[in-house]
């Protein structure tokens, strides 16, 4: 069953980027306004439904700012670039999280990590080329 859930997750994330690419006239901040509004409502309902507690701390402020800035830049990239290039590059954000984990959380530096960082960086190089 988890395969179906992951498949649906992939489908909805891809549909998100595909839909944004197809919004021709609106500015990225306008798209984000409606996207964040509807997502806030849905996740608030899920929070209540699953009986989770809303606690605000210092890090949550950075979370909102970071999410806004990253999507704003990504949507700008989608406006002028190809979906099949910009989306994979944005999807490589796990590389940055992995590097930060290595530096600040002293996570183990394994062969898998080195291979992941190398493949990801090479992938970005080939996707970012002009032709």
């Amino acid at each position: 069953m988890w395969q179906l859930y992951v498949g649906l997750s992939i489908l909805f994330f891809s549909l998100n980027d595909f839909t944004v690419k197809n919004i021709k006239k609106a500015k990225p901040e306008q798209i984000l306004f409606f996207q964040f509004l509807s997502a806030s409502v849905l996740t608030f309902i899920a929070t209540i439904f699953f009986n989770q507690v809303l606690k605000i701390n210092f890090f949550h402020i950075f979370l909102g700012i970071g999410y806004f800035l990253s999507l704003m830049l990504f949507y700008l990239a989608l406006k002028i670039g190809e979906l099949s290039k910009a989306a994979p590059i944005f999807g490589l954000n796990v590389i940055i999280a992995a590097i930060l984990g290595l530096i600040f959380l002293a996570e183990p530096f394994t062969i898998k990590t080195i291979a992941g960082l190398a493949f990801g960086t090479l992938g970005m190089y080939f996707l970012g080329g002009k032709k």
């Binding site: 988890w2 395969q3 992951v6 649906l8 992939i10 909805f12 549909l15 998100n16 980027d17 944004v20 690419k21 919004i23 021709k24 006239k25 609106a26 901040e29 798209i31 984000l32 306004f33 996207q35 964040f36 509807s38 806030s40 849905l42 996740t43 929070t47 809303l54 606690k55 701390n57 890090f59 950075f62 979370l63 909102g64 999410y67 806004f68 990253s70 990239a77 670039g81 190809e82 979906l83 290039k85 994979p88 590059i89 944005f90 999807g91 490589l92 796990v94 940055i96 999280a97 930060l100 898998k112 291979a115 992941g116 493949f119 990801g120 090479l122 992938g123 970005m124 996707l127 032709k131």
Partner: protein, 137 residues
């Protein structure tokens, strides 16, 4: 360096930092409440940005509908991923989702938006997917 690449790369870096912050907070809060904070925080930021830049222009109803649908798509995407995590390990689900997302999104671009398939693009996609798999298993 092309400008779309600069935007995508900067967005990727900031998203990576955000993901790292999520990793720090996650043990102390619920998945959905954390997501709510993320979206609601983003919503407040976008309001402040629009007010400062005075950048609001008239939008078509179709675009408003599409943008609202994006909120549902991203929430459902995360929601289904959490459901998958209830049944399997993150080290199994995350690489499948990460690599699958790259390939499926690119396919949508190629099939429906008639974007070109080049050798460099395919090579870049395969390497990026491998990178995600190795980093998340």
């Amino acid at each position: 360096m092309t400008s779309w690449f600069t935007y995508a790369a900067l967005g990727m870096i900031i998203q990576g930092i955000t993901l790292f912050i999520v990793k720090l907070i996650l043990p102390y809060s619920g998945n959905y409440s954390l997501l709510f904070m993320q979206y609601f925080g983003g919503f407040l930021c976008v309001i402040i940005y629009i007010l400062i830049k005075k950048s609001w222009t008239k939008m078509k109803v179709k675009d408003i509908l599409f943008a609202t649908m994006c909120g549902a798509f991203s929430s459902l995407g995360v929601g289904f991923f959490y459901l998958a995590l209830n049944e399997t390990l993150i080290s199994v689900a995350a690489p499948v989702r990460g690599a699958g997302f790259l390939i499926f999104t690119s396919l949508l671009g190629v099939i429906f938006l008639k974007e070109k398939i080049t050798f460099k693009k395919v090579l870049g996609l395969v390497l990026a997917a491998l990178g995600i798999i190795f980093l998340t298993i």
